[in-house]
Symmetry: C2
Subunit: 415 residues, 2 copies
């Protein structure tokens, strides 16, 4: 077994190579996609091994996340080709000036260097993260969940095959072999070797990283997203948006978890919301958890102590009545994870108040929180959704996987 | 005494206010500058108290940093007025797109919220940091060194007076009253209350922050800056640049500490460097510390074990002979603090090699490292020089004191 430290030293060495040209990177990405497809059988075999081991210990939902099919592998290959089609983020001159003494000062985008990604059981993250890191000029060190190790190993083996075919150092893409907690801790504390750490996964993983990381780390993901139905809301829009934000894909971080309703429209709106979510037409009914004021209007589950601080990721939604937009904003400030929030209102000045005050990565007016996504925002792809304020906020695309440096050219200038 | 936690809670509350308009902020900055001048006597008295207490325990250099004069207070007021003249960084739409469904997606610059600044004994940092934080829409929590507490208190008192005169909440600017290590630790770990921590000072302070901070932190300052004299260097340029980078202000972070010399020009160049730095015309001779190869050409101090890893901040420079540009780049990768490095060469491809490979905030060709500065780079001001890669690199001006959020306006769009 190669130790995590050895992998990091190798990765650091490769990151000090000359940057690859866009042409070379795109050619390699195509070879990586081809190699994935060519090795489908081997990858499926490895995945079957993971599945058979995991069967007894993990839930059906987890098993489904873990399972690969020919279709899913084709999807992964397609994802890599899409990354190849995106513009190269490296080497953009993002700001340029000429000093009065003639110095040319160019603020230029450059890769971070070594990007470590700690993730959980979805095997497709392996190829997505590798492709995004590679295209953005970074060397990646992938550390997946132990349930998916054989799958990840087979995928990385195919990707490395693609790199080698193009004469590129295979150590641009690395998989950590140790899947115990120790390797995660090693990545979090590898000062000088890891230039950026990105945890992708549940609350526990993110918290472990933000608590323990000594290397630069971007917090991603968890979303307790709110929708506030203002007194000036168009109630039909509100119903449609809440339905979409809650039920179109409840397991993702941009799904809504909490609905705040202005008291003056509550008597009218809450029964409509109830009729919609408890309708016998629905395959999956949404359970509403109401505060004591809500219970005066609709007969739903009384909200428990933690219901306004829980990312349900399920057909569940907490509902609360507020006295004003100010109170909605204050509730969000206290309970949100700063991911995505939306106000439903026809009143422009209340909308402006809400967008100015709510301190989240994405703040919506009259739209579903489900749009917080790299593809939807026009970034073309996404490494994750940052819920922190340093460096990147919201969906992180290729540009967010670069930092910059100043390159200054002179002819003997002194100060 | 107000506890640090109380100050942070107050600061957080103020940061949730509506953002101030540029006009209001500039008017307040002018009132703050006036208030500083008006309260000069009181500030000088407070400073005299600090000086008399510090006299027995600190060095002459420290005492000089700590000392205020009427001139210096005028300089501080002028600095505040210069900040007022800079463009407002808040509310810039840095990217805008329209989704095919009609959603307007605007990536908009916003303040971080509460910015905590831990610094040492220069009293002018108090007013500089307060002005930059205020103009960038942030609420600042200042925590200066204990030697300068009375001066900082008097300065903040005057600044708050300026705010009150304009009807603005004086809690936009806050000074931590506890100057023990405990308050620094409280700021480093105030998750949810401090949105950004900026340490400004020596290596020990920076290291304490990066080791212990649980809140987002920007590493600033320490500079072990290198100048590499290539085999194709114009030696007269090289001498002039090294002289400037080393001696124009040895105590600052962008001063050069190490000179690397290509072996093929060493026999010609080193005697010239020696003649320049040991010239009897110089008021301050520069002590060179050479590796064993250097000692073959010039009779200087043998370099000690740590001389290539020391920020001298003094009339001292370590010198080493390298066999190639590759070796220079490798030495820099191992020993630099990623602040500023320069190559002296007339060979364009070697220059390109150097600027592409050296992983520092500022990489120069044929110019002095002393230009790494917010003013010189056209930012108009500077909160510090970041030596990290996340968020901001190099000089941090007003824009770097902002983060962004996406504001998305729709009319009922669902995904």
């Amino acid at each position: 077994m190669i130790t995590t430290n050895e992998i990091l030293l190798r990765a650091k060495a490769v990151s000090q190579n000359a940057p690859l040209s866009c042409e070379v990177k795109n050619k390699a990405l195509k070879a990586m996609a081809d190699a994935l497809l060519r090795n489908s059988d081997e990858i499926l075999k490895a995945n079957a091994l993971d599945i058979s081991k995991a069967k007894e210990t993990v839930s059906q939902v987890m098993l489904d996340r873990l399972r690969l099919t020919t279709d899913r592998i084709e999807g992964m290959a397609k994802g890599i080709l899409e990354v190849a089609d995106l513009p190269d983020p490296v080497g953009r001159v993002v700001q340029s000036s000429v000093h009065k003494n003639g110095l040319l000062i160019e603020k230029t985008s450059v890769p971070f260097g070594v990007v470590a990604i700690i993730y959980e059981s979805r095997p497709n993250v392996t190829s997505d993260a590798a492709a995004l890191s590679f295209k953005s000029g970074n060397v990646c060190v992938l550390r997946g969940g132990k349930e998916a190790y054989s799958s990840a190993y087979a995928i990385v083996k195919a990707l490395k095959e693609g790199l080698r075919e193009c004469g590129i150092d295979e150590n641009y893409i690395n998989l950590v072999e140790d899947t115990t907690r120790q390797s995660a801790n090693e990545l979090m504390t590898a000062v000088g070797l890891v230039d950026l750490l990105i945890p992708r996964g549940g609350k526990g993983l993110i918290k472990a990283c933000t608590d323990n990381a000594k290397v630069p780390c971007i917090e991603t993901g968890t979303g307790i997203c709110h929708i506030y139905v203002d007194k000036e809301a168009d109630l039909e829009k509100a119903l449609k948006i809440i339905d979409n934000a809650k039920t179109s894909r409840p397991s993702v971080c941009n799904a809504a978890e909490v609905c705040l309703v202005h008291k003056s429209i509550a008597p009218l709106f809450l029964p409509k919301l109830y009729d919609s979510f408890y309708s016998s037409d629905r395959e999956n009914k949404v359970e509403l958890m109401g505060d004591s004021e809500v219970l005066k209007y609709i007969n739903v589950t009384p909200a428990g102590e933690n219901d306004f601080d829980t990312e349900f990721l399920d057909y569940k939604m907490a509902v609360k009545i507020v006295n004003s937009a100010e109170e909605a904003v204050a509730h969000i400030a206290e309970h949100s994870t700063h991911h995505s929030e939306s106000i439903i209102t026809e009143d422009g000045s209340t909308a402006d108040y809400f967008t100015a005050r709510v301190d989240s990565a994405a703040v919506y007016v009259n739209a579903s929180t489900r749009f917080t996504d790299g593809g939807e925002f026009g970034l073309g792809c996404e490494m994750g959704i940052s819920t922190q304020k340093l460096h990147a906020r919201g969906p992180m695309g290729l540009n967010e996987l670069n930092t910059y440096k100043y390159i200054i050219k002179g002819n003997g200038q002194i100060r």
